[in-house]
């Protein structure tokens, strides 16, 4: 990804700035980042779908080998992982991720991964996913990953605990 395509949104620039050593984060700046994540679209890219999901139908829609990332993530989380309930729509799934980011007790962190700058939110699943949208194997924590380079959410899934997530040791926790 060339530098010309890196997001220049003030909140994304702020995330990059806050990863610099010694840069303190004020409450307004943290609120600005939360607002950015909570309003961010899901990545519009086409991504590969797991082979066992290809050819299935979800909500009347045939699942192809490559799908827009939001739909691909939704069917993976619903059908394969069973973290969200069958019937959850793309907008409902995205809504739960946004609710997680906004929840008062959500943790907010940022780090670098494979040359990309990421921000992430970690929240209680129960505070973000309504009972009717919880799948048979829903887990207690909901993790939302945001690319500050692209200005989009790139993943959202549930985990059984903080220690199960692969958070780099040098991640910066903002709240």
């Amino acid at each position: 990804m060339g530098p010309e395509s890196i997001s220049r949104h003030p909140a994304d620039r702020l995330i990059r700035e806050l990863l610099e050593p010694g840069r303190a984060a004020g409450p307004d700046e943290i609120a600005q980042i939360v607002a950015r994540l909570a309003a961010a679209p899901f990545s519009p890219r086409l991504v590969s779908v797991a082979i066992e999901l290809q050819g299935l139908v979800y909500q009347g829609r045939l699942i192809y080998a490559r799908e827009p990332a939001l739909f691909a993530h939704l069917v993976q989380r619903v059908i394969a992982d069973r973290q969200w309930a069958v019937g959850t729509t793309e907008q409902q799934y995205l809504g739960t991720l946004r609710r997680a980011v906004r929840s008062a007790s959500a943790r907010l962190l940022m780090y670098e991964r494979r040359g990309g700058i990421l921000a992430a939110a970690l929240a209680r699943t129960r505070q973000a996913v309504p009972p009717r949208q919880r799948g048979a194997r829903f887990l207690p924590w909901l993790y939302v990953v945001y690319s500050a380079d692209r200005g989009t959410i790139i993943s959202g899934y549930q985990a059984s605990g903080l220690e199960e997530l692969n958070i780099p040791g040098n991640a910066r926790w903002l709240k």
């Binding site: 066992e52 394969a80 494979r114 692209r150 993943s155 985990a159 199960e164 692969n166």
Partner: protein
């Protein structure tokens, strides 16, 4: 052995297939990941905890006796793959 419904059997099959595919392709992933789109690289590593959760689920099902004999054989194959390929994912997750 626990009673297994058709739905559970299908779920077990799906989890087993997915786990075998993910753990089996790790050598190829390690050899090619640097050439992937950067977001694909990031998402692959970020979402790996889902594979660890899947292993935990399968382990529980095995303990409960929910796998058919043929699925149990593939589960043993999966365990061999996990032992063999775990160093690969540890290296990928460290970057």
């Amino acid at each position: 052995m626990a009673e297994v419904t058709a739905e559970t059997r299908q779920d077990i099959e799906r989890q087993l297939c997915h786990a075998l595919w993910q753990w089996g392709r790790l050598p190829e992933v390690a050899a090619t990941i640097d050439d992937w789109d950067q977001l694909d690289q990031i998402v692959f590593v970020e979402e790996w905890p889902l594979e660890e959760e899947r292993l935990r689920t399968l382990k529980t099902w095995v303990a409960e006796g929910r796998l058919a004999p043929e699925q149990r054989r593939r589960y043993e194959k999966l365990m061999n793959l996990v032992a063999k390929h775990r160093p690969i994912i540890e290296r990928l997750r460290a970057r």
